[in-house]
């Protein structure tokens, strides 16, 4: 049994469980065996002093829902071994929030272009600084701060 740090409830009545980040993979594996077979989304929240990774689980048999949260400073274990769908969700969280998932097979940016500077959903992301995506000779994207022929 993995220790639960604390429990809470969201406004729509779903249980929120806080788990230590070292235990997240084990805890989710337990939950998956308990019947929470759906991983709806993985997301992150930037609380300025720390980051939080949020897992939304669903049991397709009982219809029960569960939110699992883990505090982190930017690194956490990947759950791609449990759910195939976690792949893209973790890539997106890395892309937009800069949370690194250890053990992810292909942790690359998914929505933004490769080479983008910064993670936009961080609260300290500089919004006024524009970045331009250009097409390189070999057909791949490159990002620069000055405007070239790109968009």
């Amino acid at each position: 049994m993995i220790p639960v740090e604390s429990e809470a409830s969201s406004k729509d009545g779903v249980k929120i469980i806080y788990v230590a980040k070292e235990n997240i993979l084990q805890f989710l594996k337990e939950k998956k065996d308990e019947g929470f077979d759906y991983l709806l989304m993985i997301t992150g929240i930037d609380y300025k002093d720390h980051l939080e990774v949020v897992y939304h689980l669903l049991s397709s048999k009982s219809g029960e829902r569960l939110v699992v949260k883990a505090k982190t400073d930017g690194e956490i274990d990947s759950v791609t071994s449990l759910w195939k769908g976690a792949n893209w969700h973790e890539r997106e969280t890395w892309d937009l929030l800069g949370i690194k998932f250890n053990g992810h097979p292909n942790l690359k940016r998914i929505l933004l272009a490769e080479g983008w500077v910064g993670h936009p959903l961080r609260k300290d992301y500089p919004m006024e600084k524009k970045q331009y995506v250009n097409l390189k000779e070999d057909g791949y994207d490159s990002v620069s701060f000055e405007k070239k022929e790109g968009y």
């Binding site: 406004k11 989304m41 936009p120």
Partner: protein, 368 residues
């Protein structure tokens, strides 16, 4: 052996990728040996934009997620926001929302059916579907004042009441809807070529479906009778009779059957709402728009809704100010599309368009 394999980029500009999907395909002759979807060409970061303004302001970004079913997107947002802000909604508004959402679901499925026909190499159903969709749009236009992006649902109700004229329009539209839809659906079902091409194509088993987090019609086509309108009723779906269609095969043909049956059921729901529509206010008079901007909210909420593509909801986290602290969109198309490689590898290149279009991805929502 290595030079036998050809790498082809499908998209981002390709006639059948429904927007800006790019699939890197490795081909061995006509057989797909590897397929990697590459997304992000329509990325606006709606989440960041929504975290920059007051709660009601986020609604226009939500509208533009799944532009084919904007009202369903708005519903996910207003339900979540109302829960977070403890806003009560009058009964009539709930019924109106239900009706509007089902109308928009029909419009969305019509786009899908038309473009699906186009992807399968036949132009005609596209026009028939857009003709029928136009009828739905006339109704939505009459009620909301716009055709594609409505901004109609508000936190605390809806922006305008349904008029007797619009109800009359819906009644006349309902009277021959089933007949017209059956006509179009027969083009597909009774075509030998269509059935031969789609049966057994793009198969995704139930285990994979759940593992990838695939929801909506694709899940129902894979053999699970799972519809949030039945399994976790929101609005007043528990007071209405409708069936959840499901198929066992999990292929393109099954998805087509499920979606078409869903349209019939949506029409059934609309007809029942017309009968049950109660009188009363259509918005909560306590919350005017200037008032809404001032509501401060804490805690978090996520209300899942059944959008035409699957489970849609918005995960809102408030920090005690009038601006959402975290605004996360659970996008069904994103999760559905992540299952694409499993459905493409091993099939022919000609199946690729059928499979991709059977997923019904809308890129406003995938790329957000």
């Amino acid at each position: 052996m290595q030079d036998k394999i050809v790498e082809v980029n499908f998209g981002p500009q390709h006639p059948s990728t429904h927007g800006v999907l790019r699939v890197k395909v490795k081909l061995d002759g006509e057989v797909i040996v590897d397929a990697q979807p590459i997304i992000g060409y329509l990325h606006r970061n709606a989440e960041k934009l929504s975290e920059m303004g007051y709660y009601p302001k986020a609604q226009i970004y939500v509208d533009r997620l799944d532009y084919a079913a904007a009202l369903n997107m708005e519903l996910g947002f207003v339900l979540s926001a109302e829960k977070l802000m403890d806003v009560q909604v009058p009964d009539r508004a709930l019924w109106i929302r239900m009706m509007m959402v089902e109308l928009n679901r029909i419009a969305s499925h019509f786009i899908w059916l038309g473009t699906h026909g186009l992807d399968m190499g036949m132009l005609s159903p596209f026009f028939y579907c857009f003709r029928e969709r136009e009828k739905v749009f006339r109704i939505l236009d009459e009620i909301t004042g716009s055709r594609l992006l409505y901004n109609y649902f508000a936190i605390g109700g809806v922006y305008s009441d349904v008029t007797p004229k619009s109800l009359e329009m819906i009644k006349t539209w309902l009277s021959d809807f089933d007949k017209n839809l059956t006509e179009i659906e027969n083009i597909f079902k009774k075509s030998y070529v269509y059935v031969a091409r789609t049966k057994g194509t793009g198969k995704l088993g139930l285990d994979d479906t759940i593992s990838y987090g695939v929801t909506g019609p694709m899940l129902r086509a894979a053999g699970k009778k799972w519809d949030l309108r039945k399994n976790k009723p929101y609005l007043h779906y528990d007071q209405i009779n409708f069936d959840v269609p499901s198929q066992q095969a999990g292929d393109v043909y099954a998805r087509m059957l499920v979606r078409i049956e869903e349209m019939h059921q949506s029409a059934r729901i609309v007809a029942q709402v017309l009968d049950k529509l109660p009188a009363g206010d259509f918005y909560n008079k306590k919350y005017s728009k200037p008032m809404l901007v001032r509501i401060k909210a804490t805690g978090e909420s996520y209300i899942p809704t059944e959008s035409p593509k699957g489970e849609f909801g918005i995960y809102l986290v408030g920090d005690g100010s009038a601006i959402p602290y975290r605004f996360r969109i659970r996008s069904p198309s994103f999760a559905n599309l992540s299952a694409a490689p499993a459905m493409l590898i091993g099939y022919k290149i000609a199946d690729m368009t059928a499979t991709l279009s059977s997923m019904d991805p809308v890129f406003g929502e995938v790329d957000r």
